[in-house]
């Protein structure tokens, strides 16, 4: 059985809940020797310091040893080696491969050729399931459930793969999505079709103010990047319209939490960091527990084994 993780879109509701329960165990006790004697390879064909550090910390805190590269310039890929050859070579050394690649579909292909499990740490604009897993974990942690939530997605909904993956993974949980984006960065038709096919309710909004935010359980902010605009006048016109300011939270529900995949540039005012609705730094911390769960699951370690683990370091 191929235990690779390429996308969360294929996971059932039960599987997602199972991984959340496993992540909860790791949040309780992140330091263990559960993976002692194992080798985890982190192959980053495209630099992503924050994702790499999170995966490597997850492996290290479970007692695994980590090999790999953070910079593709040092690999044989630059000498013309194919992805398959690199994967086959590393499979001889490591028990599992965490891979980030700039090409879309690279993780799927690697999972088909590799004799060891692959975890997709992002493949181009396609999928980034560990980000989605930590988002789901954070939503569950802050709301106590994943069911029947109003989730507001703000900013770049066109190129932002985190919002696309989140939307697809939430299909089991009867959400209502709200899309708030400039026209140039609106949610693509493909994902609206996906919503209609899976019975996911969605509304599109132009205004972004306190009255709108009043309905949110989760306010998921993303970065609006200047380079995404063909018309810079348009960018100048809309860039401030999707910034979150402290006074816009005046009518927010008490359970509402603000998430952001980070890095943030200026889309969330710094004054909000100390507001109880702000949750993006805890969200990033949850990446550790989510990734510990994903690595263990890919290695065939069960929730039962994690619960009965005798290797916890106090």
């Amino acid at each position: 059985m191929n235990r690779s993780l390429v996308t969360l879109a294929e996971h059932s509701r039960e599987k997602i809940e199972y991984l959340i329960r496993m992540a909860q165990e790791f949040e309780r006790q992140p330091n263990r020797l559960l993976l002692q004697g194992r080798v985890v390879a982190t192959l980053f064909f495209e630099p992503s310091t924050r994702t790499r550090l999170s995966f490597e910390t997850a492996a290290n805190r479970l007692g695994a040893r980590v090999i790999g590269f953070a910079d593709p310039k040092v690999t044989s890929g630059t000498k013309g080696e194919t992805l398959k050859d690199t994967i086959m070579m590393v499979s001889n050394y490591a028990d599992i491969i965490v891979m980030r690649h700039y090409l879309e579909g690279a993780a799927r292909y690697a999972s088909e050729v590799a004799p060891v499990p692959i975890i997709n740490a992002g493949d181009g604009a396609n999928q980034h399931p560990s980000q989605t897993m930590l988002d789901l974990y954070t939503i569950y942690q802050t709301q106590g459930t994943l069911d029947n939530l109003d989730i507001y997605l703000v900013g770049d909904l066109k190129y932002g793969r985190t919002v696309h993956s989140l939307l697809m993974a939430m299909r089991h949980f009867n959400p209502t999505f709200h899309f708030i984006a400039p026209d140039e960065l609106a949610m693509p038709e493909t994902y609206k079709t996906y919503c209609r096919m899976h019975g996911i309710r969605y509304e599109e909004h132009k205004e972004f103010d306190a009255d709108l935010i009043a309905g949110a359980d989760i306010l998921y902010m993303t970065r609006v990047q200047k380079e995404r605009f063909s018309d810079l006048m348009e960018y100048e016109r809309v860039k401030d319209r999707y910034l979150l300011k402290l006074d816009m939270l005046s009518k927010a529900k008490t359970n509402m939490r603000i998430l952001h995949p980070l890095p943030r540039v200026n889309e969330i005012e710094y004054a909000i960091d100390d507001d109880p609705h702000a949750y993006y730094f805890q969200q990033a911390r949850n990446g550790l527990f989510a990734r510990q769960a994903l690595i263990c699951d890919a290695l065939g370690i069960t929730l039962e084994q994690v619960k009965n683990d005798k290797t916890i370091i106090p």
Partner: protein
């Protein structure tokens, strides 16, 4: 018609692929690997057709294709008609139809897809047969089958 009948010999056993659009003929030849055939192959190009204006036709002796092979044809020439010949008689007529999956037939039109950057076989899932929409198994990009190129 009489003159054409003289040019194209009758087939005792084999497959006739008729009503191939002339501009697609050479793609059909490549797709079915007819250049590697050892049996007799007769190809008619720029023939008159009351239905299509001009058409092409291929007669392949002693060869019966699987449905899977024939369905790959639907990507380049969805409206061809097929006749299976045994003992000079047409024993079966078939229409091609788009299969659920396309292996190694078409190229992904996403330049950042792994399949365009690695020596590997492509795979597409048909998401909408009527509209001819296919999805790349690797990068998930949906594309119009009329706009794809062959591998």
């Amino acid at each position: 018609m009489k003159r054409e009948q003289l040019i194209v010999s009758a087939l005792d056993h084999g497959t006739v692929i008729d009503h191939i659009p002339c501009e697609r003929l050479f793609e059909v030849i490549n797709l079915l690997h007819l250049d590697q055939m050892t049996s007799k192959v007769t190809i008619g190009f720029n023939l008159k057709s009351s239905k299509m204006g001009t058409k092409s036709i291929i007669k392949i002796a002693d060869k019966f294709f699987t449905d899977e092979e024939l369905n790959q044809l639907s990507v380049v020439a969805p409206n061809v008609s097929l006749s299976i010949i045994r003992d000079y008689e047409v024993v079966e007529k078939k229409q091609v139809c788009l299969p659920d999956e396309l292996y190694g037939i078409i190229r992904c039109n996403n330049p950042k897809c792994i399949t365009n950057n690695e020596p590997m076989r492509t795979l597409f899932h048909i998401t909408d047969k009527e509209a001819g929409i296919v999805r790349c198994h690797y990068c998930n990009h949906e594309q119009d089958i009329k706009k794809v190129t062959l591998t």
